[in-house]
């Protein structure tokens, strides 16, 4: 085990310790989340959709559940329960789509679990969470048909997207739907900035669960992320200074 491995383990251990400590403190000193306009707009758009009997569509992206792309899909799955809850009273409840079989299965399970928790199992349909197509561009090719047929007025893109993400957001806009879009891919975030009504920048996609009203640990993790980010920035600054002064690192 090298020095880098030890440092990584130490960083993870610190992360977990801070997360647990902050979660414990959350009851006494709850985290106040700064206002993110994207989530404020989303809340209003969902309220309008529920009142108008229109559909909310949550896309969990075109990535897979195995590997480095899974983080943003897991964040989307976490947000799924909260969105399903607030859209339950609508005549046209939430529809979820993805470009991967495993994510589709997980989203069906999460949706079924949420409906069961809310004593609304009778309203659950397996086809409300579906895999649209197994490849990124075939996924966006099938998207307009679904948005039109389901009369979607709010589209959330929370998951991994590559270049096809811009097309997915654009198709929502063409449908005159409100589009909130967040992903873990930085180039796609730039595309979302141009094509979505409410783009999520940087790690904001991972904050979706906390902003939509989730558990104390989710709120606590945002605090811990902020703290660790400051630590990393300071370390990068020190490293840059030392390197500039001629000290080898």
């Amino acid at each position: 085990m090298g020095l880098n491995d030890l440092l990584s383990i130490a960083l993870l251990a610190v992360f977990v310790a801070l997360l647990l400590a902050r979660t414990g403190a959350e009851l006494r000193w709850p985290t106040t989340l700064r206002t993110l306009p994207a989530f404020e707009e989303l809340r209003r758009a969902i309220e309008r959709a529920v009142e108008a009997g229109e559909r909310v569509h949550l896309s969990l992206g075109t990535g897979t559940l195995i590997g480095g792309e899974s983080g943003s899909a897991l964040a989307g799955l976490t947000a799924l329960s909260q969105i399903a809850e607030v859209t339950l009273d609508s005549d046209r409840p939430l529809v979820v789509s993805s470009g991967d079989g495993a994510i589709a299965a997980a989203s069906q399970d999460a949706l079924r679990g949420t409906y069961a928790r809310l004593d609304a199992s009778a309203r659950f349909q397996w086809t409300r969470a579906r895999m649209l197509a197994p490849s990124p561009f075939s996924y966006v090719a099938t998207l307009p048909g679904m948005l039109d047929a389901e009369r979607v007025s709010v589209q959330l893109l929370l998951g991994h997207f590559g270049r096809e993400g811009a097309l997915a957001a654009d198709m929502g806009t063409r449908q005159r739907a409100f589009v909130l879009a967040g992903t873990d891919s930085v180039p796609t975030q730039a595309q979302f900035f141009a094509t979505a009504d409410a783009p999520l920048i940087g790690e904001e996609v991972f904050a979706a669960g906390a902003y939509l009203g989730a558990s104390g640990m989710q709120r606590a993790s945002l605090r811990v992320q902020d703290l660790l980010r400051v630590v990393l920035i300071v370390l990068i600054g020190i490293g840059t200074l030392l390197r500039t002064l001629g000290f080898g690192l």
Partner: protein, 211 residues
Amino acid sequence: MRGGLRIVWAAVAMIFGLIVLQGYFLDLEPLRAARTMVLEWAVVLAAAALLLGVVNLAAVHLSKIGAQEKGWAYSTLLLGALLVTLVIGLWFGEESQLALALFSYVQQPVEASLAALLAVSLTIGGVRLLSRRRDLRSTIFVVTALVVLLGTGPWLVGSNGELHRLLGDARAWLSQVWAAGAARGLLLGVALGATATGLRVLLGADRPYGS
């Protein structure tokens, strides 16, 4: 009973997550073998899930055809294409000439056309951005995109001129200094966010696998 099952699923997710996570740090043969085995299981399960996804997709479109919903004709086309592709793949093999022809002459051109549409979508998106969100960030975004576009490709006239050279230098400065720095900052946030999400799943706080 249901509460007990929830604990079992959470425990399974945590145990298997930890087995995979330790493989990144500890270079011990039994642990490496365990990690490889778990990942192989995951790949098999993902393939099975893909099959379930296709069944789910077929069920969605069959119900659309049954109810004669809007766009049912497209659903018929989709199911027909699915069936034909499946039969060709199973009968002739996925690397047969026929299967490869389907890929080369149908799927690839469609995907390439969609990729080409991306340029149009982004251009329209850039124009719409200025009418939708008239703020400093959007203006900087659009101006930067214009400078990068003009500084990257050749022009119809004046490609050897001073203005083109200046824009080329501006493009290099923007992309290598500002964009690269900002992208690293964003990546740092994404990495921390992904780590936090993974840890919440490992600690059982987030249970995206239902109940």
